[in-house]
Structures are given as C-alpha cells and as structure tokens.
C-alpha cells in the first residue's frame, strides 16, 4: 500500500485502517506510521474526502476509492466542490458479496489497484417486487417504512453527494414543524434532490438505524432518470439534465443576450 502511495506521488493518503478492532478512515501524510490498513469494509470515501478537503487545502490526496466513490467524486468535481487535479484515485474493486449486498450494477473502478472485479448484479429483485405491487399496496409499504423514521439524518450525513451544510429538511417550510416521523414529503424531497447525483452506493440504507430500504427508492429514481433523460449519475462529462435546456446543453452564450 505504501508503494501505491509513493507511485502515485501524492502528499496524503486517505484510506481506512484498523483502530481497536474497528475500521476507521485515516488521513496519512508521507512518512506517517500507517498501522494496519484495511480495504474490506465499505466506507464512503467521497464523503470523508469532502470533509478532509475543508482543512487540507494544498497538496495531492490519494484516495482509496471504489467505483461508487469514484462516481460520487465525479459528481462533486462537476460542481467545483472538489478539485480533480488534487486527487489521485486508488481503485478498489468490491468483493462479490459486497456487489450482491448493494445490488450494484457498476462495481468495477476505472483503474483497479486492489481486488478483483466481480460480476455486476443483475435485475434488482427488491425493486421489481415493489414495482409489481398495486399503487395502494406500494403506498402502504412505504408508509409503514417511513413511519419508522426518527429523523436522525443518518442518510443525509453519510451520503457522499449530500453537500449542503444546512439541510432543507431541517427547516419546517416543506415538512411538518414537530414531525417525528417526519412524513412523506421528507423522503420525497430527499429522493428528488438526489435524483441527478445519487451513485447508488447504498450508504443511506446501511446508515439507517431503522432499516428503511432507501437504496430501493434511490434505484427507482435512478431508473427514471435513465428512462426520461438517458442520464446516469457519476458521469464526469454530462451536466444534470434537470438544470439544462431541452436540447440537453447548458445555455449557450448567445442565448443570454437580452
């Protein structure tokens, strides 16, 4: 691992290591004692990177990134929230078990430094089951799930592409003032905010203390984005179709003369 660190010529390494038997993210400088680095536990490195980026203002950071981290980083770079030129990605392929758990359709990073790419997951049975339900059954299902929500904001705080400092959902404008559980709008608003940037990493679902199947909701929205606009989040080239004109391009300069 230290070799990769040297080869990539970075000043910092963002990775995960063993801490008292648990796995924790760590930011290492050149020459730091690495301890026992581990790559077996999924950690949202893009989210950690956003935090690190706030105090590490100079130098290159090498990041151990799985495919979903890589896509999340692409979304953040597109929004100028991260500087691509200061990043070096160390590709980490997820294990077959991890791919299965996330029902991941895109598990292989562009450069694989560690691990071996597993086969992408096929059809998502959970999503298919939900879409097979009648509307009223589906509503019943989600209401039962959302009733469990205790508004801990775990889904938001651990989301790699949730980048607002102050969340709209903490405000009472769109969700009831003293609502725990917070109601339907809370979850719908979060879903639509993520529509053009969710990389389906599944962190929201893993973070949820009451096991709301949030990844299924994310996957359904991503499917709509694909169907409606042929758009897949994590694409470093394309801007969000929700912000652009129907031609699909950001406003051209000549269209601004008025």
């Amino acid at each position: 691992m230290r070799l990769a660190f040297e080869e990539k010529g970075a000043d910092y390494l963002l990775a995960t290591r063993d801490e008292h038997g648990n796995v924790a993210p760590v930011l290492l400088k050149k020459g730091d004692e690495p301890g026992t680095l581990r790559v077996d536990v999924p950690y949202q490195m893009a989210m950690i990177l956003t935090k690190v980026n706030k105090f590490v203002k100079e130098g290159k950071i090498a990041v151990v990134a799985r495919r979903c981290d890589e896509r999340a980083i692409a979304e953040l770079v597109k929004r100028d929230l991260l500087d691509q030129s200061r990043l070096n990605l160390i590709g980490l392929a997820c294990s077959a078990e991890q791919v299965k758990e996330c029902r991941c359709t895109d598990p292989c990073p562009s450069v694989v430094d560690f691990g071996e790419c597993a086969e992408p997951s096929g059809d998502d049975a959970s999503v298919a089951r939900l879409l097979d339900m009648s509307l009223s059954d589906r509503l019943g299902f989600w209401i039962a799930q959302f009733r469990k929500c205790n508004k801990c904001f775990g889904c938001t705080l651990n989301c790699p592409v949730c980048f607002c400092d102050e969340c709209l959902l903490e405000d009472k404008t769109f969700t009831p003032e003293k609502g725990i559980p917070p109601g339907l709008a809370f979850h719908l608003i979060r879903a639509i905010h993520l529509a053009d940037k969710c990389v389906e990493c599944g962190e929201c679902e893993r973070s949820c203390p009451v096991d709301i199947p949030l990844l299924s909701l994310r996957k359904m929205v991503s499917q709509d984005m694909k169907e409606l606009f042929d758009y897949v989040s994590g694409d470093s080239e394309r801007r969000s179709p929700l912000l652009t004109t129907l031609e699909g391009d950001p406003m051209e300069d000549d269209a601004n003369v008025c």
Partner: protein
Amino acid sequence: MIRIGVFICHCGHNIASAVDVEKVVEFAKTLPGVVHAGHNLYSCSQEGLSSIKKSIEENELNRVVVAACTPRTHEPLFRRACEQAGINKYLFEFVNIREHCSWIHSKEPEAATEKAKKLVAMGVAKAALLEPQEEGESKVIPRAVVIGAGISGLAATASLLGQGIETHLIEKSDRMGGLLKDVAIIGPEGTDSKSLIEAFMSDIRTSPKAHVHLNSRIKELKGFIGNFEVTIGNEAEDLKVEAGAIIVATGACELRPEGEYGLCEHPQVITQLELEKMLSKSELTAKNFVIINCAGSRQPGREYCSRICCNASLKNSLRILDLDPDASVTILHRDVMSCGTAAEALYMNASDKGVRFVRYSLEQPPQVRAEGDGLFVEVFDETLDEKIDLDADMVVLATPLVSPDDSVETSKLLKVPRDKYGFFLEAHVKLRPVEFATDGVFVCGSARWPVSARECIWQGQAAAAKASIPISEGKVRIEAITAEVNPDKCVACGNCVLACPYDAIEITDRDGIRAAEVNEAQCKGCGTCVAACHNDAIQQKGFSSRQLGAMIDALVRATTEGTQ
C-alpha cells in the same frame, strides 16, 4: 407584529353576483394576523382606494390584501395606494376572485364563495410573510418599433418621430397605407384618404430618424420593456434592432365569404372594398345597386359588429348618386349604426337623396340569385312584413373586418393575447387602453377591433404617447422580484448558475467563502434558480419558499378545518 387588512371587492355585480362578499369578509376576520376585514363596491374607485388608505392608518395595518380582479391589471393601482398610505408597496398581496372565481363559476354561487374563502386564506398566509423591498432601475433603449404601416401604424410612427424618437416601421406588403390604399374618400366628413396618408408618409420620409422596412416581418422577439431585441426579416436578410417599446398596428382585413350571397359565383356580386376601388376610379359599371349590410357579421360564430360598414355603405351610396344621379341604391340592413353627429347627418342625407333602406332579420337573410344577365335579391322586409324581390345589376356585400390569419403568429411572437375572434386584447379596456399586459408592448387600430380611420389615428397617436413614456424617462424601474442568495446557506454547488436562463448568477469567492451571487440588473425574476437550489439558499423576492409554502398550508387548512 403582523397587522393584515383584507379588502374584498364586490366589483359591482361582477364578483358579488356569484360570491357572497360579506361571508368572505367574516371568514377573513378569523384568519391569523388579520386585524381588519372590509368590503368595497369598487375597490379600484377613488372612494374604494381612499377607504383602504384610511383603514391602513386607522388600523395601523402593515400588510394589505385585496381580493378583487387580476394583479395583471390592477396591482399597480393598489400598490400605489399602499405607498400613499405609507407602507412599502411590496407588502401588498392581490387575490383574484373575479377572473379566477366569480366569472368562471357564475352559476355556482356557493362553490364560488367557498373557493373565494380559500383563495383569500392563501393570500393572507402569503401576506403575513411578505417583506418590504426596494426596486432597482434599468435603462431604456431610445428607439421604437411599429409593426404595420396602415393608417394606425403611420399615425403612431409619425407621432413618435415628431417626439424625436428613432422608429423602425415594419410592413409585410410592398407599400405603406394598408386598407386605405383602396379607399378614395373616407367618411363621414369625406376626407381624401390619399392626402391623409401622404401627410403621414411625408413626415416619415423626411425624418432622418425613420427606418421603413417593406416586405418584412418580425421573426423573433426577445427581451423586456426598455430592452427588446427585434429580429426583422425579409426574403434577403435578417436585421436585429434593439428597441425600448413596440407598437402593434397589424390591422384587419375584409372578410370574403366565398359562395355566400353569390360572391365569386356572379361577377356582379362584390365586396364593399371592391366597390371602394371602383368608386376611386369614378367609374360605375351598374345602375341598380343593392348593398347588403352585416354580410357575415352579427351572426353565430361572428357575433361582433364591425362598426365601420354602416357608415361606409352610407358614404358609398351618396358617392354612387353623386357620380350618377339616375342610379338607384337600396341598403339592406339589420340596424343602421350611424352614431355621432356627422354620421347621423350622413344617414339623413342618404335618406333625402332617395337611398332606400330595407330592414331584414338574421333569421331571413337576403337571397341573391341570377336570372339571365341580371341579379335579383329576395328579402323579407321587416317593416312591410312581406317578401320583396329587388332587381339589381350590382350587389355589394358590406362584410366585416376580420383578424388576419397571421395575427396568430404575431400573438405567439410577442406573447400577447387575442380574443376569440382573433383580435388583440389590451391589458384593460378602460384603465389601460392601447397597452398590452406585457409592459412595453402597445396595440392600436383595427388589430384591436374594427375601427374607423379617424379612430385608428387617435389610437396610433395614443399608443405612440404611451410608448414614449418609458423612452423619454430613459429608465424603467425593475420590479423587486429578483433572486437573492443567502451566502450563509449557499454551498456554491453551481446548480443556480447552470439553471439561470440569463447567465445572471456566478460563484464568487469573498474572503475564502465561495457562494453564488446574483447580478440584479441581469436577473429577470423568473425564479428558475430557486427551484434548482436544494437548500433554499437562493430565494426570489416576493415568491419565497416560505411564502408559497404558507399558501399550501393555508389551502390544506381551509379544506380540512372548513371555511365556515
């Protein structure tokens, strides 16, 4: 503390005939923040406005809600009243219970009253969250564009030029003059139309500030009052012109109801405009004239009165008798509309000179038939109560003026409305004549509805006078509906920058804090950025998430808790 005053307007019978105004007043009194609720017969009248102003002072109101007609026409009036009473005009909220309620639910008074309550509840909820605003200013390009070189457009252009305003006149045909090109004399005074048109055209020809574009059309229009960009195109090229104001003078054309009354079947059946052409050459090709008025107007599908035809028929009958005192003229009419002193004199004169008037009804219109070389018109004379058969060697159809087909295009390009007959609709018939609801765009002449040449000139000059107001002021105030950023919330994700249709937002770095910043002069207040922002860091003045959210809450509350 929020102190809201609510004023419900009867608008005479317009609102009160469907909405129980007093019930709405009683309901308004129960709404949070409302300290006064009252009603006016006409809120927009002097009396109504002064009672609102008086109430603002007496009740120490700091928010005003008027439930009446549409903000698109009356908001400025009430805002001004608020200002005069000492409160910022942006603390006023308009609720539309006429166009959006009483007029469209006129047969359901109970439902209309309930809906009016809901709308008032929503308005009051928004009003409670309104904030005072300050307005910016934007410069006005000192140039005007007039579309259509008929008599209205010519009058407007000459008037603008007379005020020293550079003007582009756009005409789709190859000549100026419009319908009057084919008319020799216009009534009832008997003005020579050529010299009339020539007077305006020479003003235009001799002015260095006039630009006439013949065979040209408007291809594209962008921008707002003070800063329009008009693309004028002909077959050869497109020209972009920047202008501060636009006048629509696209006129009307004569209806040719082919096949009706034998038109296009018998060469001796002609329209009034064809008769005008004949008369302008002073050559009569017939002796017995039958003029059929209201041919194609005041009937199902085209109910309106075209206004100019009665006088034209009278004037032309007298012209015929002038040219050939032995000729005979019969006017078949449904009512002779010759209003005013001069036109009534024309009617009396025609009667004295032997013009015969026969009144027919909508149910039994005249029938034209050909027999041998001649024509016969069979008509049920309402006065005689019997059918008569008239020998005619020329039948003249006084058909109405109709909106030209391309007014659809004009309407789309300029985003201005038309009525169901295709004529343009001004912002308000009485309060804002010759103005469109879209600021900086004006209308005059028969594009609006059929009018005489004299009225065309009045309206053309009126439109020019209105258009010259922003141009001579040199600036217009920008309504305070622009977007503003809360830099504490903004995370500089750039969603708003990308979404803005005007490139009015950029990410700036101030002391290491990156945030979006709105260029107010460039911002047009559409709010597209607001919907793109995920944490309400950017908000539109007067349309904030909290304000609209409160309206939704009010609607929910009014429904669940009832409006009784």
